[in-house]
């Protein structure tokens, strides 16, 4: 088996550094396999969060060779062989230890978003009728596994640390899921503009690129939400016509 050098970030909230490990990489190895091997054979105290190893739990988010990825879905064979493979924790969130970050901020932000507000049931049995065509749009957003890679790559959070003014792509996907639901009666546009700070997004589309569920975050969630904000905040004609208040 070929020896491959991994440089893994070791440390905590007070600081840390990349440390080198040589790993015997077997056929079909993913980065998480290599991390587990390091943990088992060379660094028993290496902290890493993982669960399903199938790209569905969103636990093993990290930065592999500088790009946000799920470690369990990143094959070592697909990475350049001529340089060491770097593995860092997500840079948008505080480090707890080694590759584990504190992502609790996301859950706190999510709690502040206006809940689902269904209309009165429109069927005699007390349920709702929705056309599948109308349901498909928000269904795309329900694929989100909350890995927070989109939050990690977003420069507004990652580089500018605007956690107090900007909710991030994951939260916009969540809001889009609610706003575009055919039976939802809530109106989160003012909250989007003022509290969640959708205007800080400058459409780099990095969130879409890193999404392991291939949700078209920018084009299908964020830009449509920005347009709804324009309807109700900046466009006098749309305001006059009451656009976006269906």
């Amino acid at each position: 088996m070929a020896k491959t050098e991994f440089q893994v970030w070791r440390g905590d909230s007070s600081g840390g550094e990349l440390q080198s490990y040589q790993v015997d990489v077997g056929p079909g190895y993913v980065v998480l396999d290599a991390i587990h091997q390091i943990q088992a054979e060379q660094a028993n105290d290496l902290a890493v969060r993982w669960n399903c190893k199938a790209g569905k739990c969103g636990s093993c988010s990290a930065e592999v060779n500088g790009s946000p990825r799920l470690m369990c879905m990143t094959r070592v064979d697909d990475l350049p062989k001529d340089k060491p493979i770097t593995v860092e924790p997500m840079r948008t969130f505080p480090s707890v230890k080694d590759l584990v970050t504190d992502v609790s901020w996301n859950y706190e932000v999510k709690k502040t978003i206006q809940r689902f507000m269904p209309s009165k049931p429109d069927a005699a049995d007390g349920t709702w009728r929705m056309d599948q065509y109308d349901v498909e749009r928000p269904q795309e957003f329900r694929k989100c596994i909350e890995c927070f890679l989109c939050q990690d790559v977003c420069h507004v959070l990652r580089d500018h640390h605007m956690h107090d003014r900007f909710a991030g792509p994951r939260m916009f996907v969540y809001v889009a899921n609610l706003e575009m639901n055919p039976i939802d009666t809530g109106n989160r546009v003012a909250q989007l503009r003022d509290e969640l700070g959708v205007g800080y997004c400058n459409i780099t589309k990095c969130c879409t690129k890193v999404c392991p569920e291939h949700i078209t975050i920018t084009d299908n969630a964020i830009i449509p939400l920005k347009e709804r904000v324009v309807d109700q905040s900046y466009d006098p004609i749309a305001k006059l016509l009451g656009a976006g208040k269906e």
Partner: protein, 273 residues
């Protein structure tokens, strides 16, 4: 909204401009995009200031379409209202392109695709995903000046109107001067102008604001066949918005160059039939 993450207070140290652990050549794309935009801006500005050699027979450069008034000293059969108006200040240079180009420029400048692309190439970053951004005091599109980008939907009608004129130009390019009137025909120039309007149309009809207006802004499209079909058509173009943005940008410049070379006598428009 909760402020900075709690429990563990320290966020990772910010990286400087351009810093990253990415081993790939991440800088190539923003550099190529930036140079592509720059090349187009330089060429289109130069072409707009020429005020001459913008039409050749039945061909009219898209930078000059619709031609409202032709400049003094020139005579153009494409002009809608004749010669340069007397109210144009004498100290200002005049070119028919000045009266037109503000529409496509404002449409492209505020386009969601272009915004993301030129922010990466020029300002306010990041130059590429997970690469350190420049400077501090980021304000995004939340405050002045970039909050102005929200006028994008107001530039859309002008872009749509231009398509009508460009389609008309492509139609006119099918008719050639002949003894006793005009005759139907086809030349390479006809194909160039037809491809131009098709590419610009594909780009314009993929506009995010148009997608919102035709159906994206409402939550129930079932039972609304016209809006649903329109939404699906615009969404099809929207998925290819970046591709059409580049193809149409290149082709509109090429169309101007083609007509210009013909008008200058450097190139002859080849008649197919």
């Amino acid at each position: 909204m909760p402020s900075t993450p709690s429990k563990v207070t320290a966020l990772p140290v910010k990286r400087g401009f351009g810093e990253t652990l990415r081993p790939d050549a991440w800088w190539i794309q923003p550099v190529v995009v930036g140079l592509g935009f720059l090349a187009f801006i330089v060429y289109s500005t130069w072409a707009a200031f020429q005020g001459a050699f913008y039409s050749s027979g039945n061909l009219l450069s898209p930078f000059y379409s619709p031609e409202l008034w032709y400049p003094l000293g020139e005579v153009s059969e494409h002009a809608l209202f004749g010669a340069q108006p007397g109210w144009w200040p004498g100290f200002l240079p005049y070119s028919p392109a000045f009266l037109i180009l503000w529409a496509p420029v404002s449409f492209r400048l505020t386009c969601y695709y272009y915004r993301g692309a030129y922010y990466k190439s020029y300002w306010p970053g990041p130059p590429s995903c997970s690469v350190g951004t420049p400077g501090t005091g980021y304000m995004g599109e939340r405050h002045f000046p970039l909050i102005i980008q929200n006028i994008h939907r107001y530039t859309l009608p002008f872009a749509l109107l231009l398509l009508v004129f460009l389609a008309s130009d492509a139609w006119k390019a099918l008719w050639f001067a002949a003894p006793g009137g005009e005759e139907f025909g086809l030349s390479v120039g006809t194909l160039v102008l037809t491809a131009n309007v098709c590419l610009l149309g594909s780009y314009t009809f993929g506009c995010h604001s148009l997608r919102h207006i035709v159906g994206g802004g409402i939550d129930r499209l079932a039972g609304r066949p016209v809006r649903r079909t329109a939404y699906e058509c615009v969404s099809w173009c929207n998925k290819r918005h970046m591709r059409f943005a580049w193809f149409s940008l290149f082709w509109v410049g090429f169309s101007d160059a083609y007509v210009r070379l013909c008008a200058m006598g450097i190139w002859t428009d080849l008649r197919i039939f």
